[in-house]
Amino acid sequence: MAVSSPSSNILLLLLISSLDWLSTPGCAFVSDRDHTNPSAPLEPHFTECISREQETFRCWWSPGTFHNLSTPGALRVFYFKKESPTSEWRECPQYIHSNRECFFDKNHTSIWIPYCMQLRSQNTTFFNDDDCFTVENIVRPDPPVSLNWTLLNISPSGLSYDVMVNWEPPPSADVRTGWMRIMYEIQYRERNTTKWEALEMQPQSQQTIFGLHIGKEYEVHIRCRMQAFTKFGEFSSSIFIHVTEIPSRETTFPLAVVLVFGIVGILILIMLIIVSQQHRLMMILLPPVPAPKIKGIDPELLKKGKLDELNLFLSGGGMGGLSTYAPDFYQDEPWVEFIELDTEDADSGEKEDNQGSDTQRLLALSQPVSHHMNIGCSNAISFPDDDSGRASCYDPDLLDQETLMLMATLLPGQPEGGEASLDVEEGASASERSKRALIQTQTAGPQTWVNTDFYAQVSNVMPSGGVVLSPGQQLRIQESTSATEEEKQKNIKESEDRGDEKKQKELQFQLLLVDPEGSGYTTESHARQIGTPPSSPMPGEGYQTILPPPAETKPAVEDNQSPYIAPDSPQFQFSAPVSDYTVVQEVDTEHSLLLNPPPHQSTPPCLPQHPFKALPAMPVGYITPDLLGHLSP
């Protein structure tokens, strides 16, 4: 509770010391100085008044040079205690003549009330104005008891050590009820020296002495005084501390020898085994190091001297080269694979069924497509090797559905601006005009989408971990029963870029034929690409498709366009998807997207410099909050 002491002593005694200088004993000096005659009579006087525990006190007197008054009873002690205006001088309550002592017991002792002492003989009163005091100022506590020490540690050099000294408060001082607050002072010195080292005063019952020297003997004693007062009690009896050198070296020596011999023995054993070529033991001791392997690359290529071939292989040229899919899109970014599309609709169940069935169909039809996407796993299958330490391969089944859904939703619908409208304009059917207009307007809107590739408009994150995408897509999902078919179409479109284009077109064509109800498609556009104008029914109200561009236009993934449906203009809001378009700011450790990272914690306001103001409202030093509950009125 050292911290509490300043405030706990606040009222204390500003000026113990000021009162020291205020009340220095000038008179005596003056009197002494004036008095040059050594044989001048010395009046009977009080030598000392002391209280040991702030409950009783004693005063001793001396007859001075008046030897005729030294007989017991010749001098009487009177005291004056200003309790009331009618106080008067009273005689000592208890004499101890053998000691020339007057003892004031508990009943006669009052704290904070001034006492004045007086000696009276038969006909003379010997009184000094300054023989007045209050009891708290004459307290000299008894010395602490049970002083002992324990060794704390020895320095690594083995030359010095620290010692913890502990003791008990003096039994006469009632510290338990808080009546007295005591500070202790330890002093120590080397034996047979004269100068004591004093440690800092503190109120605890223990203290550490640092830096004692091995081999030297030390003497320690302790005294105490009341906190905020000046008078020390007597010193306790001394204890002696002596620590000699500890023979620790010998015990560590054999240990070191044993250790060294053990290590040497093991090394020799290993050497023997290696030399004797015991193959089994060799395998245990020195397991073979695996050869370098890279997924999808013939180990032969990795051997020394075939760097050019390797480069060629890696760049994609030649037969059996690495496919140029963009596997990194969903392979390097682990967060992608964990996003699951959660269509949070009430009737999503139905759609899911549709989706599932459609997806299954798609899977059956486009098996090679998905196969290509699973670049890592497929290569694993095609290049078996010994090492089984491969990183987790995607579960192919899982990936199929997920990647399809993923690509369906994540790859943004990038209308190719003018191209889409161009495509539309090429169309001849009149019924498309309305859609065309919509498409045109639509293309104007999401232009902004073009610039941010692969950004999904995440509008909400489900508690289950799924991501709800933007209203644009949501509306599409909600509105169209053939939304899934749209996705399939998108998938097909995307796979166009990835693989065999013609093959995909055939797939489309097949799909269209298979699904006569495909009301979501402007099949004419597809037919245009393919070359045969099918005559499927026009899409119902409610949505449009953005026509995909010709497949030869742009490379890589920027071209991927998922045909976004433009709902009816009253329902469609260009601004909404755009405003809800959120850039994924961060990915946290659990692979969830953070769209609005939490703001940085503002630093708490600095505590004011002034130490007083830093104190809490509770009276520090007296009551702490945990003691508050124990206070009873």
């Binding site: 009820t177 009551i623 003691l627």
Partner: protein
């Protein structure tokens, strides 16, 4: 951090060393030493007193009965003497916590005004260390304020008995005109403050140890 009184003592010791001890006789038979009148027996044989041994730290608080000596008039009683407080350990342990708190708060409140007076006059005190004394008094005022606020919070939790305050007005507003009376009155006020502050400390300490019965190490 050092206890407050230790800081005060050290600071004032510095002031003390720089002053020159002056001595001269006064009418009342006292000696001005260090600027403070010390009453000494005039033309008496040497008589060591308890004061000479540093026994007392307070000047007399009452008129000297029956001595018949002329002396400089001294203030007699502290302005807080009218408050009935326990005067020994038995009484202090007997009264309730609320009463202890109420007494402490009353005493603390009673010293707000006198501390202002002391603070104002400390600066012009005819003493070499008056600057540091003035600083210390200002620190005291701040400490008192903080403690007072804390005790107010505490009393609100302890019930209505702890809330009662006894008014102890301080009527003196000037510590004197001439040098000697200034010093005397200043000294007297400070000694009263010292006594009262020890009372407050004791009462609060008793209260604390009472609350920490289950945890003696907190006492």
């Amino acid at each position: 951090m050092e206890p407050w009184n230790e800081i005060a003592r050290k600071t004032l010791k510095e002031g003390d060393g720089s002053q020159k001890i002056q001595r001269r006789q006064t009418l009342g038979g006292g000696v001005v030493r260090g600027g403070i009148v010390q009453r000494c027996p005039h033309q008496r044989p040497a008589r060591p007193s308890l004061a000479a041994l540093g026994q007392n730290a307070l000047p007399q608080h009452h008129t000297r009965p029956g001595t018949g000596r002329v002396m400089t008039p001294r203030p007699s009683m502290c302005h807080t003497s009218s408050l009935q407080t326990p005067s020994d350990k038995a009484q202090a342990l007997q009264i309730s916590g609320s009463d202890l708190l109420s007494l402490a708060r009353s005493l603390l409140q009673a010293w707000v005004d006198p501390l202002v007076v002391l603070s104002d006059s400390a600066y012009t005190l005819p003493h070499p260390a008056h600057n540091s004394i003035s600083n210390k008094i200002q620190e005291l005022q701040e400490h008192s304020k903080i403690l007072g606020d804390g005790l107010d919070v505490l009393s609100s939790k302890m019930g209505p008995e702890a809330q009662t305050l006894s008014l102890l007005p301080y009527t003196g507003n000037d510590i004197g005109q001439d040098r000697i009376s200034k010093l005397i009155n200043f000294h007297f006020l400070m000694s009263c403050f010292r006594r009262d502050s020890h009372k407050i400390d004791s009462f609060l300490k008793v209260l604390r140890c009472r609350a920490a019965k289950m945890q003696p190490e907190m006492c």
